[in-house]
């Protein structure tokens, strides 16, 4: 790659390193692995940059970060999919607003982090992409390579699970 192209690459993609690390760290749950994933993702992005036709650079980079993280699991033999995902079954939820629901706002960062880390990775990633990275459904569909409908139902289920996990933590119940 010539210096002009390298400069264009750096200008386009280095500003998204903060997001790249955040996603990698949530997916791998390890500082060390997240750094390796980010470095490898940038090297891969560098190689494919010729095929990047402009557009959403952040979503493009996060797609590679996600792919790299999943490859890392295959490498160590840890399954990326930790639970069978049944996309069609809605999470059971009663309509009434309990006092616990409003308590969620009082949850500490530590409690939320534990609850989110405890989610299966497919659920964890949609919550991180939506709530922490502020991606639109369309961008999330691009990053996860899923249809938008699946992104929406997965996000709904992820939120319901996260809420339940958080309530259990706040209650001091089973973690």
């Amino acid at each position: 790659m010539d210096p002009i192209e390298l400069e264009r690459f750096e200008r386009t993609l280095l500003p998204h390193m903060r997001a790249a690390y955040n996603l990698a760290r949530w997916l791998t749950r390890s500082d060390h692995d997240a750094e390796d994933v980010v470095q490898e993702a940038y090297l891969r992005a560098f190689r494919f940059f010729g095929g990047f036709r402009g557009g959403d650079a952040k979503a493009w980079l996060l797609t590679i970060v996600r792919h790299t993280s999943y490859s890392a699991w295959h490498r160590v033999g840890e399954a990326g999919t930790t639970v069978p995902l049944d996309e069609d079954t809605p999470e059971v939820e009663d309509g009434a607003l309990g006092p616990e629901d409003l308590l969620l706002q009082k949850a500490s960062g530590q409690e939320v982090r534990e609850a989110l880390d405890a989610l299966p990775v497919e659920f964890r990633e949609v919550v991180v992409l939506r709530e922490l990275e502020g991606l639109s459904y369309k961008e999330m569909a691009e990053v996860t390579q899923l249809p938008i409908g699946t992104v929406m139902s997965r996000l709904a289920r992820a939120r319901a699970r996260l809420r339940r996990g958080l309530q259990e933590r706040l209650r001091g119940g089973p973690a």
Binding site: P90, G109, A156
Partner: protein
């Protein structure tokens, strides 16, 4: 707008700012009339504010950017050195100094960058893929010495099915497989081990007419062997010595 699951899904889309104006207004009207739905919205907002705490965002460590820049610089420089034929150029300059008669010709060779041939670029690319697989400690996606595990692993990941052989009997045990990208296409990488030397064998389908003939090269200190078999292009890359790498290539062509 009636309640039930579809409404609940729209509610989240409303929360996420994904509804168009007309639907948003409909949703707001509905929310003003429907207590269960507005309770559900409050519940969603409570969760959202719990997730909005800045401490949940994992900030990248200091030094990561430098580390990435260094890796990129190295990668870019490797490719550039090989492309401009820098070493060959220096040799020519020495010749020019001792033979003034052809100095003009030699000068032209030094200053006019030689366009790399397609063949040369291909060699550079497979060697880069090999180096990267070692550098990022990303040798295999599927680690297995069982070809019946490795071969099916590629199913659905590639638009072809590579032949997977275990050569443990010949002293080249299969270590695993990996998905890689060369020439802007997904390729299969089979990893073999000879002593402490890993060997990458890259495989992809290639037309009879494309990609040049068989051959052997030394690129940046790595030995490279290329051959074609049954409509597939094979590249073997390793720091292993050439005779042993040849033997591996030979065994794979059996």
């Amino acid at each position: 707008m009636s309640c039930g699951d579809p409404a609940a899904r729209l509610l989240e889309a409303y929360l996420d700012g994904e509804l168009d104006l007309v639907r948003s207004l409909e949703m707001e009207r509905h929310l003003s009339e429907c207590e269960p739905c507005s309770a559900a919205l409050r519940r969603q907002r409570a969760l959202r504010s719990a997730l909005a705490q800045p401490s949940l965002y994992h900030e990248r460590p200091k030094g990561l950017e430098n580390r990435v820049r260094a890796a990129l610089g190295k990668d870019s420089k490797d490719a550039k050195d090989s492309r401009s034929g820098a070493r060959g150029g220096w040799r020519w300059q020495a010749v020019a100094a001792s033979l003034p008669v052809i100095a003009t010709l030699a000068w032209a060779l030094v200053v006019i960058p030689r366009a790399p041939s397609e063949d040369e670029l291909a060699r550079q690319e497979v060697v880069s893929a090999h180096v990267r697989s070692l550098m990022a400690e990303h040798l295999t996606d599927v680690a297995s010495s069982d070809r019946h595990t490795v071969k099916p692993w590629f199913n659905g990941k590639l638009d072809f099915s590579p032949e997977v052989k275990d050569l443990a009997g010949d002293g080249y045990p299969l270590v695993g497989g990996r998905l890689d990208y060369i020439g802007r296409r997904g390729v299969a990488a089979l990893v073999y081990q000879r002593g402490s030397h890993p060997v990458n064998v890259f495989i992809w389908p290639e037309a009879e007419t494309g990609g040049g003939g068989d051959g052997e090269w030394s690129v940046r200190g790595y030995n490279v062997i290329r051959w074609r078999r049954a409509g597939m292009r094979y590249w073997a890359v390793s720091d292993l010595n050439l005779p042993e790498l040849r033997e591996l290539a030979h065994d794979l062509q059996r």
